[in-house]
């Protein structure tokens, strides 16, 4: 497969906008990219896939001039080149749209697009007229004529900021555009818009390196796909020759028979019941029952009120109306500690800012929600804390040097397991998981799904929020759909299909609300 592909690349000749040959790169003696060849053709979308740590980021950083390879060649338009800095890579037509968007919030849209390459008048001052006209044109080409070019970037949505970054790349006349997890932070309608932008860029002949975990996007957009594993090239294939299970097994190096663990029947007693619960205008009149041993999926678009409902149950934004009952008794939850003491655990959607204290160690993080239990007399019992952490590490298979490793050094999947470990150590009966597998590679994702099913089997009541419809459908025993802060649909597992749930999720209820 590999020889074929290299043969292919040489055959198509000098016109390749970028080609990597037998690239290797090591950090501190550890090879993170080993003998990888990769090429881009004009006007193609080339998906780059692999688990976290497979070497994707290093490879795209080598293309962007952030890292220099130890071995191998970079070839642009048939000539061997070196990228000693990102500036040189830019000049060679290679631009990156970063995962965390690097814009200047206090500058306008037009200023951001032309930063560092501002058009000048003959006097050497900024040519505002040309700059604004060109910015307008670029955004029009991206079907984003609705963006006000004189607006500060500060208040723009993630989707809009991303379009500005793409416009900036176009202003640099990029021939290769590297997109690193471009849809990770986007709402569903922004994803659709981004996909149409990617298609129009392809028509203009731009070659797009598309790094993503999301299968539907890969199959909808990519022309070819390259899979890396442990720093090695597994294969480069036309998308028509692979299917989803095939790609997954290429990434993890083993075949995953079932994407989701099998469901069990559930008819446990009701643990949690909400009736008429509201918080301001974001959570409205929510009523549902959660049973022992059940995974209840909460589907909906970003902003539909799912996370807000979870935050209300967990006491971050206490209910302003309605009643929450646990074991049939009304309870008042006004703070996270009250929720925790009632046996509710919440694994939040944003690991870095809500779930973990990243500079602190695994044991410090796990102890944080359990301090009362881990204290002897007035002092924290260091031995108990360490034991608790070691227990979590072995129970959840957290790959770490030990309990004293800072969590920021762990991969996304392992960080998520630390958050889970922290909360399961509180012995909860109700577990709320908000985007349990966001930004986690395929292998760790399967492990977390398996763990959720196992917990449910042991009698845990799980409320799962997810923006990935396949995850909701694959994991849930029952699905609730939220839209505009309300529950607008309920499906049992037989009737929960992508079409049915998707329709209710995206329907506009404005008219009914007005009536």
């Amino acid at each position: 497969m590999r020889t074929e592909q290299i043969g292919d690349a040489t055959a198509s000749g000098a016109a390749l906008p970028i080609e990597l040959r037998a690239i290797s790169k090591a950090f501190a003696g550890i090879k993170v990219v080993s003998n990888v060849s990769f090429d881009m053709r004009p006007g193609e979308v080339h998906a780059l896939m692999g688990e976290n740590g497979a070497g994707k980021s290093t490879l795209i950083k080598i293309m962007a001039g952030l890292y220099q390879p130890d071995e191998g060649q970079i070839i642009v338009n048939g000539a061997v080149v070196r990228f000693p800095s990102p500036k040189v890579a830019h000049a060679a037509g290679i631009a990156t749209v970063h995962q965390e968007l690097l814009l200047f919030p206090e500058l306008t849209v037009a200023e951001n697009i032309f930063l560092g390459q501002t058009p000048k008048t003959s006097l050497g001052t900024i040519d505002w007229t040309t700059m604004r006209r060109r910015a307008r044109e670029l955004l029009d080409e991206l079907d984003s004529g609705d963006l006000d070019i004189d607006q500060k970037v500060l208040h723009l949505s993630v989707g809009n900021r991303q379009r500005i970054e793409i416009a900036r790349a176009l202003a640099q006349d990029a021939r290769v555009l590297i997109m690193d997890e471009p849809t990770a932070a986007l709402a569903e309608h922004d994803v659709q818009r981004l996909m149409s932008i990617v298609r129009s860029l392809r028509r203009r002949g731009v070659a797009i390196v598309y790094v993503s975990h999301r299968m539907p996007e890969i199959f909808a957009l990519a022309d070819r796909v390259t899979v890396l594993r442990d720093g090695h090239l597994v294969a480069t294939r036309p998308i028509s020759e692979v299917d989803e299970p095939g790609l997954v097994s290429m990434m993890v190096g083993r075949s995953i028979d079932r994407l989701y663990p099998p469901k069990q029947g559930t008819d446990g007693e009701v643990i949690l019941e909400l009736s008429g619960v509201s918080h301001r205008s974001v959570v409205r009149d929510i009523a549902f029952k959660l049973r022992r041993g059940e995974i209840l999926g909460l589907a909906g678009l970003v902003g539909s009120g799912r996370t807000e409902t979870a935050l209300t149950i967990f006491g971050i934004t206490p209910a302003t109306q309605g009643q929450i009952l646990i074991d049939g008794k009304p309870v008042s939850i006004t703070s996270p500690e009250a929720a925790r003491d009632l046996g509710i655990a919440y694994v939040p959607e944003d690991r870095a800012s809500q779930g973990l204290i990243r500079p602190q160690t695994i044991e410090e993080n796990i102890a944080l929600a359990n301090l009362k239990r881990l204290t002897r007399g007035v002092f924290v019992d260091a031995a108990k804390v360490a034991a608790e952490a070691r227990n979590a590490i072995s129970r959840f298979g957290i790959r770490a040097r030990g309990p004293e490793q800072p969590v920021r050094q762990l991969s996304g999947g392992n960080q998520q397991k630390v958050v889970l470990g922290k909360w399961l150590a509180t012995n909860p009966r109700i577990l709320i998981m908000d985007e349990p597998t966001r930004g986690i590679d395929v292998g760790a994702k399967a492990e977390i799904h398996l763990l959720m099913r196992k917990l449910a089997g042991e009698g845990m009541a799980i409320l799962m929020i997810s923006s990935e419809l396949p995850e909701v459908l694959g994991m849930s025993d029952r699905v609730l759909v939220m839209n505009g802060g309300r529950i607008v649909g309920e499906f049992d597992k037989e009737h929960a299909t992508a079409e049915a749930v998707g329709t209710v999720m995206t329907r506009s209820y404005d008219k009914e609300q007005a009536a």
Partner: protein, 314 residues
Amino acid sequence: MTVAKLFRHETILAILTVIAMIVLASLSDKFFTLDNLLNQGRLMAEVGLISLAMTFVIVTGGIDLSVGSILGLTAILLGVFWHNVGLPLPAAILLAMVCGTFAGWVNGLIITRFSVPPLIATLATLALYRGLAEGISEARSVRGYPEWFFFFGQGEVLGVPFQLWVMGIATLIAAAILGLTPFGRATYAIGANEVAARFSGIRVDATKLWIYTASGFCAALAAVIFVSRVTTTRSDMGTGLELDAITAVVLGGTSIFGGRGTIIGTALGLILIQALKNGLALSGVKGDGTIVVIGLVLIGAILVGALFDRNRGG
């Protein structure tokens, strides 16, 4: 956090302190005498008490600029309650300290309840409390305290100044609370990531309220010792003391962004500053020169700390 990591900055600081001591001792034969060292300990206690609470405040990512003014206000109230109101002196002391502690609680309330950044909240109360102190005192000082009162600031127990005992015990308590208790864990967690701390069921607001209240209490305690030591009450007492305390804490390795710092570091920072002040003065260096040296040491310590941080990161 491993012990090795925790002590890295502190170790450097300890070595630096020892070197400073040796150099200063060689510059002046009056420096390294028991009398002088104990006397320096006496002078250090007031800033020291405030620095202990300030360490907690800064570890949460906050700052308390009002401590100098709380000290001034407590001192004035003590004098006024006793001299003008006519309360018995012990009652006046207690009541003044309650007022100083209350002033700290008000800081905490403004910061937690109304989400005012600590820098702004305490900058405002710095002016407010100093203004109150000056208004109440009407620019008159109070003198003539009874003899027994001077024990707090001038007396000795087993040959060691009274306030040095207070300071020592307070240091042990503070180190135990910050290093070993759930409260200390919460303090670090809030400074490192307040949102995640709240999401972990930590009582963020209550913890902060306690810390700012304790800061007020320490300033009030320092005020009593201060008045007893100098035998007079004046409204400008403690002016600029907040900066001395912050300097000691930051020199001690506490991150101004929160989440990191130790009481041992603060204690070492205090000792180093006091040794430099005194030793340089004894060696004939003028006041301005001393300040320059302290500034340079602070910059040096922070640069070294940043260097270690970079090696640690990633």
